[in-house]
Structures are given as structure tokens and as C-alpha cells.
Symmetry: C2
Subunit: 448 residues, 2 copies
């Protein structure tokens, strides 16, 4: 096979066979196919897309470029969750222990902060001592021990994806649904779960800014998973404002712990976070066959919260993965940022929007994320929202508090956060938080 | 500037500024911009094209990546010709000496065989001793001496194009009109001519297989040339069958010499070749201000042929560029191929088509072209057509003769050539040979 002919074929809108993808990907991993041919191919994919069969073949090859875990000797239906990423999205930290507490094993492979969004691994690692770089053997051992494990993509998992992702990042070929879907699913499928719940975020704080794109991605992900014989359930959820109140790694751990303890999440700025968490937990418990419907799964999840079993499972997770349990149990022991500043409202009325993209980007300037690939994150840094969309505001009210160790970034960050809040005279209508449910059979509006 | 942002900009259909192209191209030539970013950019250009301003800026940067010859101290309007390449297209060999004989200086930078088409340099180099690799100094000296020079792209001429062309070739990004036009014009403009005649071929034997694509390319080339203040005149000519009778390097020199001597070209298989040659010569003589119209230029060219001044100029060219004049003057002295074979017709009727792409590809298998970049051409090898489209044929008539030194390729080549001739019972209508004229003002059908 001639790689130039395969690039031309994709360029001209034809469909490639699985054998052709195998040739391209194995030559790429071997180093026989130069990066410049792969990047031209990826750009042609950007413009031409892939058929369902192509996406499946592509994902399969990425998946089998590395090890695929076999968790079949662990009893029960293993269920993982994937979120396409948003601002303030700490759902994994809450949901994984809740679902495990309901008796469903959760083998979770997570990612790091990407663009303006945070990453579960970075959040977990803000807990002193917490490790996410375990080998595959240790991974299997942990899931057997406590029914829950949260690690990152190791060298053994989908190495073709790892290399290709780095190339896409520098060639403007990231924003392509089959490539995104193949990348996500090759990693998730390698983790060995039997079922997967998807949270595809839509809105200004998400990578998919329109519902249409989010639905397209969700359908592609569900199709791939189903093609691999996995139980799949997807949701399109709103990312037009940050989720919950905290943005920043340790700040999000604190919010998660308070929610797990039952101190927050009912009628405060964490309410939307808990609604999304319980929905996705419910779906996982349902797919894990510990409930006969998503709704019943939500009830089981609420019980796990009320009985503190979810919180206990979180402490187990912290302990088994090397983290300092006492700093979680005594949140006030954690070091605090050198500087904090209130962002106050100059208007009165109601919050009509909070720009999540600006919030995510601003939190990075405070130290909560990486501007360059080798930047070190300040776990304490970030933003805590005191008002959410729909809340009434009086002039002088605190809208948000920022935390940082760099004095020089405070003033521009404060301005930027202030500008991200829109205040209007009349109470706005809130957009639905859960928009659609995507199943193998099709998609429909979510009606609770 | 961030190269990823520039790739994204082109990918999303936006227009890049000249400064942005300058950044990309100079970083590429410096080695700071990796090939994989350039190839992704080129693929995005394939899909998004370029505006007129972008094409002009891109060409200018490619042109000024190397030396641009200044021939202003040579009196007269210097005129070059470019053909987009076809099968059996030996027009340059005829036209350059004819035009120079009419008193118009011809500084010509030519190319090598590409794909299924032959190249002027390979044809000239089939003449023993003929050199095309002169330095720029020698180039200027030769044009002053005999009013004619034919060389290849040197290291000094448009080096950015040279490097980018090699990358396009292996990333399926060749077939993109602004990139093709930029590549052609950067080389042609570097040669220092004041005016340029274009022969854009259309049909199955050409790179532009439709009239529409050929017209688009011709217009782009004319626009670029005009943008650089050059006089431009373009023609769309037919490449639905090979031009003239010979395909193969020395075989084409023989046909050209016979035409220059007046022994061929009036009412035989070289008739179409002479018609195209005289048209383009006429246009060059007109642009060179030695005639007041293309038609009058054609008359001047016919006179140069009739008086043998064109042939004399060709001998001068061979001599000054180191070639063996006696082998041109005594064509029978040249070594002959070890094998030759007639391809005969099994049907009677009229030739309705001769597939030029198949003819070009078959001539390569005989040794007349390169299958790999470092293959050595057999100058003697090739095909001579004995019938052209429209000719009557009896069963047993010779359609073509093939020449090669490799016995094993004879049988498959004979079959392939035989299948390339279509014989029909009724005399077919011939397509027009000269289809359109393209000027700065616009395009119109050619009516002679």
C-alpha cells in the first residue's frame, strides 16, 4: 500500500478499509510513516470525516496499539464514565465513590486539564500523596480491593492515540468528531469496563459549543461503544456556566468533599453539580444492574450519599491511592493561597450569565492550569463562585472570590471575572441543565 | 505568530495576510516550522483554496526565497513559455528556436518528466553532451550570445518551492490550483522574462482533466503574472490524445528536428504538434513585439521555419549548451533500441481515441520515464504513433511502434498500447485542438 494514495483517497472523500487504516497506523507507530504524512491525512479527515465503519476500525486499531485490560474475573458489571470536559466539572470525584458504594465496580481512566478545562487527575493529585500513575497490575489489584480505581493513561494504554493526539494538537486537527471519538473511546475501552456513561457538555465552556455538535459527538461515541459490545448511555448537559461553585483543583476537591459529606449541594451554588452527579451516578448504577432504571439508580445514589457510604468510599480511594486522608477529613489543614480577593457587583438585578470559557481561562492565569505543557499547577489557586445564573444580586455583593499566590495577576483576573458576570434587571429563565439522553436506539429530550 | 493558529485560520476558510505567509514560509525554509505543520497547512489549502491576494503573496515569497534574474541589460522583450505538461508535448524544443530566430530572446526554465508526462530537460539531455545545469551567470551569458537558453531549476531558483514541491508530492497536496500556480510562476518569474505564454492542457493526458479546471488554472497563472507586471497570454489546448507522433525523449527530438527541417508536420501525425507550436510561437513573437498580432506572429514563425532559421537556431542551442551537433544533423547515427515491435490493428474503421494517459504510462514501462525518483531514463525508448484520432485504419495496419531495451516489457506494453486505440466504424468528429485564449481581460473561445 502507498500512503500517498491513502491520503488522496481520504482527501477525495472515499472510504478507507480497515486494512488500509491498519497499514497507516502500524506504519505510524513503527516510525515508517512520517509525521508529515499523518498530519496531511488527519487534515483530510477533518474535512471529509469518517463513516461509522471507519470510525470503528480506527478506534479498534488505536485501542489494540496497546494493552486492553481484562477485568472479567471481577464479579459484576464494571461501569466507567466519560465527560468531554467543562469548567468546574468535578463530577468524577463525587460519582465514582457513590457508584462504587452502590456495589458497581468503577474502573476509571481519566485525563489532565486540557485547554480551558480542568482534569480529574490534576484535581485528585492536589490531595497530598495521591498517585494516579499506577501500573496496569496495580490498577487491577485496586479495583478488586475497593471496587474503585482512578488512574491516568499509562504508556501501555493506546500509545497510538497518545502520539497522534500530540500531533493533532500542533496541526489544528483536534476539532474533528471521529478523531475525538476514536481518541476518547480507545482509552476508555482499554480500561476494561463493560458499560460507559457519557456526559457530553454543550455550551460556551465546552469543546462542543452547540447542541448539534454535542449530539453528533455523543452519537458517535455511543455507536463506537455499542460496536464493541459495551452498554452505552449518553447525556448532553449544559455548560453555559461553570458547574458548581469551585474552579481550581483543591478548591474542587473541597466542594466535592462537602457535597459527599452532605454539607452542600441542596440549595446552594453546588445544586447543579449535584443534579448532574446524581443523574450520571444513577445511569451508572442502572447499567451496573444495581437498579432497574436510571431513576431508581438516582435513588440508590442518594441513599449512598445520605448514609455517608459514598464519602467513606472516597476516603478508601484516597487511602489506597496513597493520598493523605487526614487532609481530606480536615479540609482546614490544607495550606491556603497567599492572596485572595473578592469580586463584587456594581449593579443590582439578577445574574443572567457567567462566561465559563473566561472563567476557565482566568483560573489558569491564577495558577490553576497549565499555559505550557510543562507548567506546574498551583493546587490551591482558582475561583469560588458566590452567585450562579438566576441568583439575585445587590450592588456590592460578592460575585466570586479568587485565590492565587501571584500578586500581579489579581487585578487583571478580578476585572476579567467581573466582566464574565452579566447582571440584568429581570429574573432570567434558566436553560435546562440536562438536555438530551442518547441511547443506542436514538436520542430524545431529557424529561427527568 | 503561532503556526497552529495560522493552520486553523486556513482550515476555517479565513484569508491569511502576506505577513502571515512570510512567517510560515521563512520558518519553513529556516527549518523552524516542521514538515508536519506545513503538510497540514497545505492540505487545508487544498480544501480552502487561496484568494487572489493570497496566491500573489505566496508566489512572491516563493520567488524571493531565491535569486531573481535581471535581464534588463539585454535588449528586447524577453518571452518564455510554460506548458502544464502532456504526452508527446515537445513544443518547447520547436518553439524556443523558432521564436529566437524571429528576434525575440527566449530565457526558458524547464522541468523534468512528472507523473505520466515527459519533461523538456530529459528530452534535451537525450542529445549526447547537452547540458541543462548551468549556473545563473552562464545562463545570462548564453541568452546574450544566441538569444536563447534552456536550463532547469537551479539551487538558486525558488528553493522554497523546490522543498515544498517535494513535500506536496508525498502528502497528496499537489492538485491544488493556487499551489500549482505559485509553484509554476515562482520558477518562471525567477527566469527574468518580461512576458509569458501559457499552454494549459486539458484532457485525459493532462493534469487538468477538465476544461473548467484548465481554465481556472490558466486564469490564476495569468492573474499572478499580471500582478508582477508581466505580459501574459494563455491558451487551453487539447490533450485528449498524445501530441504529434513520438513519445519518448530521443524519439521526440527526432520528430522535432524533422519538423524544424520541414520534413514533417504538414499532413502527417505531426500536424497537431505544428499547429500548437505555431500558435504559441506566434503569441510569443507578438508579446516580444516582433509582430502586431498573434496571427502575424504565426506568419513570422512560418517564415523562420521555411528559411531554416529556426533549425539553425536549434543547432546553435545544441552547440552552446554542449550537445553533439552531428548527432542532430545526422539522426541515423544515434544508437537504436535493442527491440522494436509493431502494434497492429485487428479492426477496420477509424481511430476515435488514443488514451494519452495510458500511452504516457506505457512509455515509462519501456524505459522512457522514471518510476522512482532516481531511475535512469533510457533516451531511445518510447512509442511512435502511426495513426492519430480520425485516421482510417484497415485490419493489420500498424497503429504504433514501440522501442525498448527490455524484452520482458514488450508483450504487456504492446497489449496496453493496442487497448489504448479505440476503432469505430464511422469517421469521428475531431475535438478542437486550440480551445480557449485567456488574457488579463478575460477568456474567450479560440477562433483562429
Amino acid at each position: 500500500m502507498n500512503p500517498v494514495e491513502l491520503i488522496r483517497k481520504k482527501r477525495d472523500g472515499q472510504t478507507l478499509t480497515e486494512a488500509e487504516y491498519r497499514f497507516l497506523l502500524s506504519a505510524y507507530v513503527d516510525g515508517h510513516l512520517p509525521e508529515y504524512q499523518m498530519s496531511a491525512f488527519l487534515m483530510a479527515c477533518y474535512f471529509r470525516g469518517m463513516s461509522n465503519e471507519e470510525t470503528l476500525a480506527f478506534t479498534k486499531l488505536m485501542l489494540y496499539s496497546g494493552e486492553v485490560l481484562d477485568l472479567s474475573d471481577i464479579p459484576g458489571v464494571k461501569v466507567d464514565k466519560h465527560s468531554t470536559g467543562g469548567v468546574g466539572d468535578k463530577v468524577s470525584l463525587l460519582l465514582a465513590p457513590i457508584v462504587a458504594a452502590c456495589g458497581v465496580p468503577v474502573p476509571m481512566i481519566s485525563g489532565r486539564g486540557l485547554g480551558h478545562t480542568g482534569g480529574t487527575l490534576d484535581k485528585l493529585e492536589s490531595i497530598p500523596g495521591f498517585r494516579t500513575d499506577f501500573s496496569i497490575d496495580k490498577y487491577t489489584k485496586l479495583i478488586k480491593e475497593i471496587g474503585l480505581v482512578m488512574i491516568g493513561q499509562t504508556e501501555e494504554i493506546a500509545p497510538a492515540d497518545k502520539r497522534m493526539y500530540a500531533l493533532r494538537d500542533v496541526t489544528a486537527t483536534v476539532e474533528c468528531i471521529p478523531l475525538i471519538a476514536g481518541s476518547i473511546m480507545s482509552k476508555k475501552l482499554a480500561g476494561g469496563a463493560d458499560a460507559l456513561v457519557l456526559d457530553v457538555k454543550s455550551g460556551r465552556g465546552a469543546f462542543m459549543q452547540s447542541d448539534q455538535k454535542a449530539i453528533e459527538l455523543a452519537r458517535t461515541l455511543v455507536d463506537i461503544g455499542s460496536g464493541f459490545g459495551k452498554q452505552m448511555l449518553g447525556f448532553i448537559t449544559d455548560m453555559s456556566q461553570p458547574l458548581g461553585s469551585a474552579i481550581g483543583n483543591w478548591l474542587e476537591v473541597v466542594e466535592s468533599v462537602e457535597c459527599l459529606k452532605g454539607n452542600r449541594g441542596t440549595d446552594d451554588e453546588s445544586k447543579d453539580l449535584m443534579e448532574v452527579t446524581l443523574l450520571l451516578s444513577g445511569a451508572m448504577v442502572f447499567l451496573g444492574k444495581k437498579a432497574s432504571s436510571v431513576q431508581e439508580g438516582i435513588e440508590r445514589s442518594k441513599e449512598a450519599l445520605a448514609t455517608k457510604k459514598g464519602y467513606q468510599k472516597f476516603l478508601d480511594l484516597v487511602k489506597t491511592q496513597g493520598g493523605d486522608v487526614s487532609s481530606v477529613d480536615n479540609l482546614e489543614k490544607y495550606p491556603i493561597s497567599e492572596f485572595s480577593a473578592d469580586v463584587k457587583s456594581s449593579d443590582r438585578g439578577f445574574v443572567s450569565s457567567i462566561d465559563p470559557l473566561e472563567m476557565g481561562l482566568t483560573s489558569i492565569t491564577l495558577g490553576a492550569g497549565r499555559q505550557k505543557i510543562d507548567d506546574i499547577i498551583d493546587p490551591k489557586a482558582g475561583i469560588v463562585l458566590k452567585k450562579k445564573v438566576g441568583d439575585p444580586v445587590a450592588a456590592g455583593d460578592t460575585l466570586a472570590v479568587l485565590y492565587t499566590d501571584s500578586e500581579e495577576v489579581i487585578s487583571p483576573a478580578r476585572d476579567r471575572i467581573g466582566r464574565s458576570f452579566k447582571i440584568v434587571p429581570d429574573r432570567p429563565t434558566l436553560p435546562p441543565l440536562i438536555k438530551y439522553i442518547v441511547e443506542e436506539e436514538g436520542i430524545r429530550k431529557w424529561d427527568g
